[in-house]
């Protein structure tokens, strides 16, 4: 019989509620809590041999340690599939499920499956790495969500043929196959079929849906530039030498703010770009070619604008997810609003 190992948090592991969220990882033999139904549904092909329980706060705040301990538990176990959750709409639990599935899969080469509500932020973070089934938003959906996970886990352990994400019920991982099995049509044929349908005005389904773009309402014009406070923001990765906020050079999740109140321009040797998406030599030789503080100061002196905001805001825009970019943008915008900045000149690289 094939073996499954199940991961649950302190609540579903029957340790306790929020007061036990710091519960350190533990491994037990057999199933615990929702693992009972899971194990029953996996039979006769597979069974839950062990359950790992970890508090959501422990995993969230001491991630490296939690992962290390869990990998240590698993080092001498034989298992064919790793299952976490379901996590429903629980943010920290969803993150823990996604992260541990990804790590276990990478370390042991064993497929991992979890389930959560489509708005759980962990879906966007991990759906490319892990099979995440679309689940309900609360534990009330347990009896609907676990059977889906169990049925798919059975297919994985018996190495049955897997159908496309939409048919199986997990979030698409962004993998497109050149040739389909059902029916066997090559990518070239599918593309031409789509084009013909498009030309004939017939409905067709793209295999590469574009992310939904949030339209930004147009801001009213600045009424009087001569009294306006203008801020500089950049996605060009210009930071003080040493990158004090450790902003990532790609796939950034952090932004920084740097006081430029006393500076007429951004001096080479004091500012650099840490952006990994282009040749930085021109920008490092003269950071003003990315963040034009010198030109904006000239307009300040001439009186075309009132003043320049005291802080430069910076992040890196390469490989950065839309979700992270939106969050960082909203955070920066809030600071600018609080500082009563009138308008922003944003330079992108």
């Amino acid at each position: 019989m094939k073996k499954a190992i199940h991961y649950v948090n302190q609540f579903f592991g029957q340790i306790g509620g929020e007061d036990q969220a710091d519960f350190a990882p533990e491994i037990r033999e057999g199933f615990v809590g929702p693992g009972m139904l899971l194990s029953k549904l996996l039979a006769p092909e597979a069974t839950v041999t062990h359950t790992i329980i970890c508090g959501d706060n422990f995993f969230g705040s001491r991630k490296e340690e939690a992962i290390e301990r869990i990998l240590h538990f698993l080092r001498d176990k034989e298992f064919d599939v790793f299952i976490a959750g379901p996590a429903f709409m629980a943010g920290r639990y969803g993150f823990a499920c996604g992260e541990i599935c990804k790590v276990v899969q990478e370390r042991f080469g064993v497929p991992a499956v979890t389930s959560m509500f489509h708005e759980n932020p962990a879906v966007e973070m991990f759906r490319r790495d892990v099979y995440i089934f679309a689940g309900g938003d609360s534990a009330g959906a347990m009896r609907k969500d676990i059977p889906k996970v169990a049925a798919f886990a059975k297919k994985l352990v018996t190495k049955s043929e897997l159908r496309p994400a939409k048919e199986e019920g997990y979030f698409p991982r962004g993998i497109r196959l050149e040739a389909f099995q059902y029916p066997p049509v090559s990518g070239a044929d599918r593309a031409v079929d789509m084009l013909l349908k498009k030309l004939n005005g017939e409905p067709f389904e793209t295999e590469m849906p574009m992310p939904k773009i949030n339209r930004v309402p147009i801001a009213p014009p600045v009424a009087n530039l001569r009294e306006a406070t203008i801020a500089l923001v950049t996605s060009g990765g210009v930071v003080p030498v040493g990158n004090p906020d450790r902003i990532q050079s790609a796939s950034a999740t952090k932004w920084g703010k740097y006081n430029i109140a006393d500076q007429q321009s951004l001096k080479a040797g004091e500012y650099v770009t840490i952006h990994a998406g282009f040749d930085p030599s021109a920008g490092n030789e003269n950071p003003n070619v990315i963040v034009p503080l010198d030109a904006l100061r000239a307009y300040e002196r001439e009186g075309k604008i009132g003043r320049i905001h005291d802080y430069l805001y910076c992040t890196v825009g390469t490989g950065t997810t839309q979700a992270e970019a939106s969050r960082m943008g909203a955070e920066i915008a809030q600071q600018l609003l609080d500082a009563q900045v009138s308008a922003v000149v944003l330079t992108a690289t």
Binding site: I213, N214, R215, V216, I218, A219, P220, P221, V222, A223, L225, A228, I230, G236, G277, F278, D279, P280, S281, A282, G283, E285, N286, N288, V289, I290, P292, D294, A295, L296, A298, Y299, K304, I305, A343, V345, L346, T347, A348, T349
Partner: protein, 65 residues
Amino acid sequence: MANLVSIAKTVGANRIVPTVSIPYPLGDPSLSLEDQWKLRKHRVGVALDALATEITEPTIFEVKI
């Protein structure tokens, strides 16, 4: 201010001023420092005027240098 104006438009920027390139949006190592300064000052000026311009749809503002 962006070099890839089509992308700027796609991601929802409303007032767009074209820049020179990705690595040096407001400079150009093939030009003299003086010409680079003129170019930078001009395009930042276009951006400031853009901020004070009423628009009804995403707009790409024209630069002369």
